[in-house]
């Protein structure tokens, strides 16, 4: 395998919204070997509280540096958001199994909820590089939280927006927008890719099933090691008729939505 623990430094930081942070970090991983949807496990060295690392998807990567995009939700992300350029972080990665690109000629419908878009930008980029038709559905609470809309549009993808409060685009859940889009104009050959909160992924799985579209979702779970060892990050997955626990950090984070036994708690 191809995993490293890099002693890195923060190169740049920007608040995109009051609780959304973008960071550029030193990192020497080969961009060509990073799959879209893979993640890194970030440590603020020497801290004992929080004790554990925090997983963040690789938002963008270039030779010598990697970008992440994260939301401040608790102690770990709060402390990270306070760090300034020059300060040290350790990056373990690239980790997990990412999104596989579809057969040529397939239309890719990409559905991101909130900060879930961070996991999808690399996928959009790779798909567009190979000239797939891409439609991107971006959902958020309100317009200030719509992430990556310009980047997606610039890549040549068709961009759909949904906000829960109706402050921009479709008023409602982004999965409802996807369902409408599919009903009004069912595509020939298409695949759904999604990342966002677990209930949204479950809703997307239903939309995908209703339209008989292969659907891939990136899941989240609390993580200990992120190396497949602690068995802390499992979710129930159905394969060949029987269900068993699989690790989000190793078998995932991307799973085929139809195989996920929804209803688990993380």
């Amino acid at each position: 395998m191809n995993r490293h623990d890099v002693r890195s430094r923060i190169l740049e930081k920007r608040f995109l919204a009051p609780r959304h942070v973008w960071m550029r970090l030193e990192c020497d991983w080969d961009p060509a070997r990073v799959q879209p949807g893979q993640f890194l496990h970030l440590w603020l060295p020497e801290l004992r509280d929080p004790l554990l690392r925090r997983p963040y998807t690789i938002y963008r990567i270039r030779p010598g540096e990697v970008e992440i995009l994260f939301q401040v939700v608790g102690k770990g992300s709060g402390l990270l958001a306070e760090r300034e350029p020059g300060e040290r972080v350790h990056l373990l990665g690239p980790l997990g199994r990412g999104f596989a690109l579809p057969e040529p000629g397939t239309r890719a419908l990409i559905v991101g909820g909130g900060v879930g878009m961070a996991s999808l930008f690399l996928l959009i980029q790779r798909l567009r590089e190979q000239e797939f038709e891409v439609e991107v559905f971006i959902g958020a609470r309100s317009r200030d939280y719509l992430l990556c809309r310009d980047e997606a549009a610039e890549s040549g993808a068709l961009v759909w927006l949904a906000t829960e409060d109706g402050s921009e685009g479709f008023a409602g859940l982004v999965t409802e927008l996807v369902a409408q889009r599919l009903e009004r104009n069912p595509p020939e050959r298409a695949v759904l890719y999604g990342c966002g909160p677990t209930p949204m992924m479950e809703a997307l799985a239903k939309v995908g099933a209703a339209h008989r579209l292969p659907t891939y979702v990136a899941l989240e779970n609390r993580m200990g090691c992120a190396l497949g060892v602690c068995l802390g990050c499992v979710v129930p997955i159905r394969r060949e008729g029987t269900s068993r626990y699989e690790r989000v950090c190793t078998e995932g984070p991307v799973f085929e939505a139809a195989q996920v036994c929804w209803g688990f708690r993380i």
């Binding site: 440590w43 004790l51 609390r222 200990g224 497949g228 060892v229 602690c230 802390g232």
Partner: protein, 309 residues
């Protein structure tokens, strides 16, 4: 250049290690997962994840939660089972020059005995560690770990079932760890592992639900180190079995704390998750410490902590 070469070898009742640094059961998988970060040839020993006779699915998520300087887990002994361990996992470990301690767990004395027998025949198993202290299954051996009578019977039965070094991993969730340690000694154990996790619980105040699916789980990490050090010290003073000390070790200094308290070897657990190469750093750190202080061998400082009064 320092010409002084300390002898870092240790012996836990026949379980020989080239240095006192192990990785703790359940925190290092079966070795291969850490291949990019740890040179297994440099480690004194590896304690593999608890093995049961049959494969086990483990507990539903959520399985882990963070606490101040610690973590809770309720993995529930998810493991591939004895057969898959022997055919799929053990051959990988055999490639390395490190001592393999197989941790085993069961519902009944007969489970443990069968595991001891089967594992004794396997090539590349250097010692057995009885997990009588898993808090995360209704019958995970924990009943043995808290009851001197049951523990004695279990250790005696396993003793008859194997000639491999037999190490008992005790639970810290007891009033009197010394009595249980003595029972192990009297019934033929070769060494002790101290400590397994402490029973703990955490609640998500927002949802008013327990953070772990089963409510309670095992607490590990730096938070528990003072408790582990105390238990190692208590046992080392009164029982002559060699001890593998663990609980919250994150660096060389922590490892030395255990050795001074009375541990002959130490195991790194939760810290592997945080810093995957920490066990290597401790191997080097201990070597440097022994060189710097011109300590000829590990046993010279085991249990030498001074207490005032």
């Amino acid at each position: 250049m320092n010409a002084f070469q300390p002898d870092m070898r240790v012996n836990i009742g026949g379980f020989q290690m080239k240095n006192p640094v192990m990785v703790a059961s359940g925190t290092f998988g079966y070795g291969s997962e850490y291949a990019e970060f740890v040179d297994l040839n440099r480690l004194g020993g590896v304690a593999v994840k608890s093995i049961t006779l049959e494969p086990r699915a483990g507990n539903p998520p959520p399985r882990i939660a963070e606490t101040p300087a610690g973590m809770l887990n309720t993995i529930g002994l998810q493991n591939v089972g004895l057969e898959a361990f022997l055919t799929e996992k053990l051959p990988y470990l055999r490639q390395f020059d490190t001592s393999v301690l197989v941790n085993l767990s069961g519902y009944t004395v007969s489970d443990y005995v069968q595991l001891c027998e089967r594992l004794s025949e396997a090539e590349g198993v250097h010692g057995l560690e009885l997990n009588v202290s898993c808090p995360n299954v209704d019958c995970g051996g924990m009943q043995f770990g808290v009851d001197p009578q049951l523990l004695g019977e279990l250790v005696a039965a396993c003793r008859r079932a194997t000639r491999l070094p037999l190490i008992v991993k005790l639970s810290p969730n007891v009033t009197d760890i010394v009595t249980l340690a003595r029972v192990c000694e009297e019934h033929g154990a070769d060494g002790l592992s101290l400590i397994n996790t402490l029973l703990g619980m955490a609640i998500d105040v927002r949802t008013r639900r327990a953070k772990l699916s089963r409510g309670v789980g095992g607490l590990s990490g730096p938070a528990i180190r003072p408790i582990a050090i105390r238990m190692v010290w208590e046992v080392a003073r009164t029982v002559s079995l060699p001890i593998i000390g663990m609980g919250g070790i994150t660096c060389t200094e922590d490892a030395l704390e255990f050795i001074l308290a009375g541990a002959t070897a130490i195991a790194v657990g939760t810290a592997n998750f945080v810093n995957p190469s920490v066990s290597m750093e401790i191997v080097s750190g201990l070597e440097a410490y022994f060189q710097e202080h011109q300590i000829a061998s590990v046993d010279k400082i085991v249990g030498t902590v001074q207490v005032d009064g």
